[in-house]
């Protein structure tokens, strides 16, 4: 379904990604963990070309882009395969919640307006925001904004949803509502790749966990393998900062 081959990315001399190989099956939920600066967000952003990989190959659902020399239309087609949920939500500030969700359907997928509206309302109800259709992002809390962001991603009916630290800029008490929405859609069999710091959440929701450090995949496995019996020294060291039940100890 998704296949990354030898993805490399450098900023000038500094190599951020040192050749990442990754395969994700249809319907799978993959969590990417790693310390700050390890390149996990960069990797995720390479998958929809918000970052330009220097080398490698990206395949999503049979559509392949060679990163050596991608054409504009390659990038455009690749982006249509996925949807992204951002750390800073990035809702369109001048549009209401409903308009935010409709935008991609109407503008990119050319769905008739009435149909797009109907589907968008359904999705907003699904994330628990049926009463906030006409609210602008500035009138919503962080948690509500992020749930609109998730509805916006779902609306596109993408092959995969990329989550870039979806709860990292939320107040602790708002994290729960966002995670429960993600949990809900994970159960529906949508392919997801999640970069996160929420260890217990990753453990619970992901089918596969990947630990990245210094631009390389250090270890991968099921949550059980990785959290309970990590093989690599670096992984053990990283996980030691979290207590066994997954709660932060700072």
């Amino acid at each position: 379904m998704i296949k990354l081959t030898q993805i490399k990315k450098s900023y000038g001399r500094h190599q951020v990604l040192k050749g990442i190989d990754l395969t994700v099956e249809k319907g799978e939920v993959v969590a990417i963990l790693g310390p700050s600066g390890s390149g996990k967000t960069t990797l995720l952003r390479c998958m929809n070309y918000l970052e330009r990989p220097s080398e490698g190959e990206i395949t999503i659902d049979g559509f392949t882009v060679n990163c050596k020399r991608p054409s504009k239309s390659d990038i455009h087609s690749l982006r249509k395969q996925s949807a992204m949920v951002f750390q800073q939500y990035n809702l369109f500030r001048h549009k209401t919640a409903l308009e935010n969700v409709m935008e991609g359907l109407v503008v990119v997928q050319k769905v008739p307006k009435e149909q797009a509206r109907k589907r968008s309302i359904e999705l907003l109800e699904k994330v628990g925001l049926g009463s906030k259709l006409d609210a602008y992002p500035s009138q919503l809390s962080g948690g509500q904004q992020q749930r609109v962001g998730i509805a916006r991603a779902l609306a596109l009916n993408p092959k995969v949803i990329l989550f870039d630290e979806p709860t990292s800029s939320l107040d602790p008490e708002l994290v729960g509502e966002v995670l429960s929405v993600i949990r809900k859609i994970a159960r529906e069999g949508i392919t997801m790749i999640i970069v996160t710091h929420e260890m217990s959440f990753a453990q619970e929701v992901a089918g596969h966990v990947i630990f990245i450090d210094d631009g390389m995949i250090v270890e991968r496995g099921t949550p059980n393998e990785l959290f309970n019996s990590p093989k690599e020294e670096r992984t053990k060291q990283f996980l030691k900062r979290y207590t066994p039940d997954g709660v932060y100890s700072i």
């Binding site: 918000l50 982006r79 996925s82 951002f86 990035n90 369109f92 500030r93």
Partner: protein, 261 residues
């Protein structure tokens, strides 16, 4: 200078007499802002998208029109351009000076508007464009649907200053013999010798138009910023007996301008 004693009634008389020439003043302002906006957008694009050669050219254009007085630009275009065009066989010696004035003011505002667009576009959060790209929008769609509407709202206060500045600058067009408000005032005053009354009337006219424009732009800004109700509410002017003095203290002072510049 005035040989007559000051009489307030003349101020009203001249107000009425100057009014017809307001047409020319507004014609210059609005046509030059309109053309200037188109020019400004065209000039801003190469700089926004860093297009190699064009970027340099628009840089030179902007420096010239921002770095030289508009009076000199007026003369250069009015006297210089016919000579240049003669070389390639086009005769514009019979063309009305008004066209040269409009051209000069258009290019002049175009330079400022291009800088304004550049600043406003840069002020739109990068994440907005990323979200647009991530959902599969083309560069044009992302610009026209997401960036431009937000940039427009951001740029209104600066744009208002620009239009009001342009209005006042049109008073220099009399130097090419254009009968806009200031030109007319000069002519009437030369005949009647009632300088004070005429220029008071003239000042009142400029002031009234400026205030009207200012009101219009505040309203427009509020409309474009309706998605930020908190910010719009904070910008609402407090009313009181000082309002008058605040308003007349500085015509180009748009409330809320400081907040975002």
């Amino acid at each position: 200078m005035g040989q007559h004693q000051f009489e307030i009634s003349y101020v009203f008389e001249y107000l009425v007499k100057l009014l017809p020439s307001l047409k020319i003043t507004l014609l210059i302002v609005f046509s030059s802002i309109l053309i200037g906006a188109a020019v400004g957008l065209l000039v801003a694009l190469p700089r926004l998208y860093r297009i190699p050669v064009l970027q340099r050219l628009s840089g030179i254009y902007v420096s010239f029109f921002r770095g030289t007085p508009i009076l000199i630009q007026l003369f250069l275009f009015y006297y210089g351009m016919p000579e240049m065009l003669k070389l390639i066989g086009i005769d514009v010696s019979r063309t009305s000076a008004l066209y040269f004035v409009i051209l000069t003011y258009s290019l002049h505002s175009g330079a400022y508007i291009s800088e304004l667009i550049r600043g406003a576009v840069a002020a739109v959060d990068r994440g907005q464009v990323e979200a647009a790209y991530a959902m599969g929008m083309s560069g044009y769609q992302a610009f026209s649907r997401i960036v431009l509407p937000q940039a427009l709202a951001i740029s209104i206060p600066v744009f208002a200053n620009l239009v009001i500045g342009n209005l006042k600058d049109t008073s220099l067009a009399f130097s090419l013999g254009i009968m806009e408000m200031s030109g007319t005032a000069r002519t009437i005053s030369a005949l009647s010798q009632r300088f004070v009354e005429i220029y008071i009337a003239l000042a009142i006219l400029y002031l009234l138009i400026s205030l009207a424009l200012q009101k219009l732009f505040v309203r427009l800004e509020r409309h474009l910023f309706r998605h930020e109700p908190a910010a719009a509410a904070a910008k609402r002017e407090p009313r009181g007996k000082r309002t008058f003095f605040r308003k007349f203290g500085s015509v180009t002072d748009i409330p809320g301008k400081e907040a975002r510049l």
